[in-house]
Symmetry: C2
Subunit: 365 residues, 2 copies
Amino acid sequence: MTYLFTRDASLGYVSVEGSGRRGTSVAGNDKANLPVTSRDVARETNVSQSTVSLVLNGKAEGRVSQATRELIQATAARLGYQPNVSAQMLRTGVGKTLAFAVPDIQQPFFGEVLVAAEVAAREKGYSVLLVDTATDPLWSERLVGMIRSRLIAGCITYTPDAEAEAKFADVADRIVMVESETPGLSGVDLTIDAAMKSVVGHLAGLGHRKIGHFAALYPKLTFRSRHAAFLAEIERIGLTTDPLWHAASTFEIDAATEAARQLIATGVTAIACDDDLLAGAAYRAARQLGLSIPDDLSVVGFNDVELARLLHPELTTVNIPADRLGREAIRRLLSKLDGKSTRTKPTMVELSLILRQSTARHGNG
Amino acid sequence: MTYLFTRDASLGYVSVEGSGRRGTSVAGNDKANLPVTSRDVARETNVSQSTVSLVLNGKAEGRVSQATRELIQATAARLGYQPNVSAQMLRTGVGKTLAFAVPDIQQPFFGEVLVAAEVAAREKGYSVLLVDTATDPLWSERLVGMIRSRLIAGCITYTPDAEAEAKFADVADRIVMVESETPGLSGVDLTIDAAMKSVVGHLAGLGHRKIGHFAALYPKLTFRSRHAAFLAEIERIGLTTDPLWHAASTFEIDAATEAARQLIATGVTAIACDDDLLAGAAYRAARQLGLSIPDDLSVVGFNDVELARLLHPELTTVNIPADRLGREAIRRLLSKLDGKSTRTKPTMVELSLILRQSTARHGNG
DNA sequence: TCCCTTGAGTCAAACGTATGACTTACCTGT
DNA sequence: ACAGGTAAGTCATACGTTTGACTCAAGGGA
């Protein structure tokens, strides 16, 4: 037989025959670990539960006296009252949790973005749920489910794929995409073209004529853009290119090194990489081939993660301001959830080329 | 004037004068974006809401016929029903969200741990909330608050500090600590001592007599342990040490390089680093001093992040199996939440020294 | 005296789900 | 023909909040 403990204003906890969740307690005075509810602080203060709610939500304007207000605040603090978020969500229909989906959290770059987002979200009272799309084939369904089930108020997806984007169609008003696959769907975008233009311009300016491109082998718009921008600029300034001068690889380090080696073997004197990690692989390949950077080979990276400064020589690379990216994404999402924003044009985040020691004039060795 | 839409079993949506959340709709047939509830699928199936709930939770054993069961499943799927998580939580008192607090998500190592944890959690139907303790001074209070308010069912904290651990005391049954500050409080621990022992043994075995230690300047037990284990092993095998051979730095790259340079200048022939990043800084310092690794200086790292293989020469370092760590932490937490586990001894995760090219015999150059 | 306002609260109805206690109709054995 | 059993559901309540509608007493003017 189990017991149900009901609460009585005068007697405190009273045991009543029956059953229920509270039945795990074994005695009327055992209120260990029972969460403190607004009703508890109401009873303690001799007011109604409504009054407590009103006061604690700052909606007591002209409805509750200053004295009572303070008493309730104090009691709530004393009892360690924490509103039950589920009940709040259920009642109000809106929660304070956001999700942030990144392609691969193990890449330090996304870590930086995520931290910035988390900070920005927290400032507005939101928490952020982590979703790593690399490890979860069903991430998009799951995300849509979470939005539908109100577990999260909204979410940000960093470089979703086209397939996923289609699934987001009917919850689009709660999603912000960063570097979306579909043109015009992005809430936040990067100035990839301009950045790659300055990379090519920099290398050409140093006298390089055979410039290779080392692409990331992932079907993301951002990488396609990098490649397209590279080609466009090469063409614009009147340089030639060759299919052989284009390599691609995943981020797996040995595979990338091998791909880089083949690329270097074609005789290019400079390489523009789609990612700092790939640049790191190019360094390894160059060493294996007995070439010295930057004297025999110039290398430029992309992203500017910490690794860029740990490589030797330090890597010239395109900086993406991860913190700004994270912040802006959250800002967009929150204003979208508020219903305030009707902006359709993406927020642009500007990239910049950071010159370090991995590039040098060609033909002065 | 606003309208309240109530639901009538025979008529579907009926408009009734009044007010409420649904009042944003302007006509009875406008049910756009109203979440589908269990009651909706009940009405559609001509059964009661209870039946739907029973079926969808797999508790229909002997209570609902196979035919009805299938009909309900199908209808739920057709309408795209997703249970309202808040309501579930409110009713059952338990949610399916966990938090994972890491010291610094920008360190790739924690990214790996987090991913493993997320995967393990997802397998059990849980989501994980990200908490970065570096960016949030109030993280421990917030975490306790989340547990109290039932937003999260439990959490994992990676290397909390003593102060934070004290705050967790009264929600200890919902927290698993990894590498806790307080001896005996850890749910998961690493074999730091054994690892550092093999580091020192390896270097001593190569003939090094002046072995330096490059510590991480953070007040964490894990780093104190590394230092203590280093000293203990040096002493055990009868080597001498000198206060000058001990340097410490944060992970800020320029500061670390400077500290490493001073350490190397004391004439040590080998350095055991508390972290791969610090080893990376040691590489930079060695280059600045014109020393070659491993011929003039042997370096050993700790953690074995991707960087270890991108450095040149590739770094000999202590591998921490991040994925196992993440998985075990989640496993511990879930079994703790189940109330099944009464284990008090931590799960030990074994580290291993990975030999690469950054160490060499001393005195053969 | 009576009516009206204002300050200080209280009431009660949701939000969507989960579940122990009922109900009802049908079947089986004697 | 009837007690007893079982299969297939339904009912009602509770979880803890939020919030528009209501109450009630005291004070103020005419």
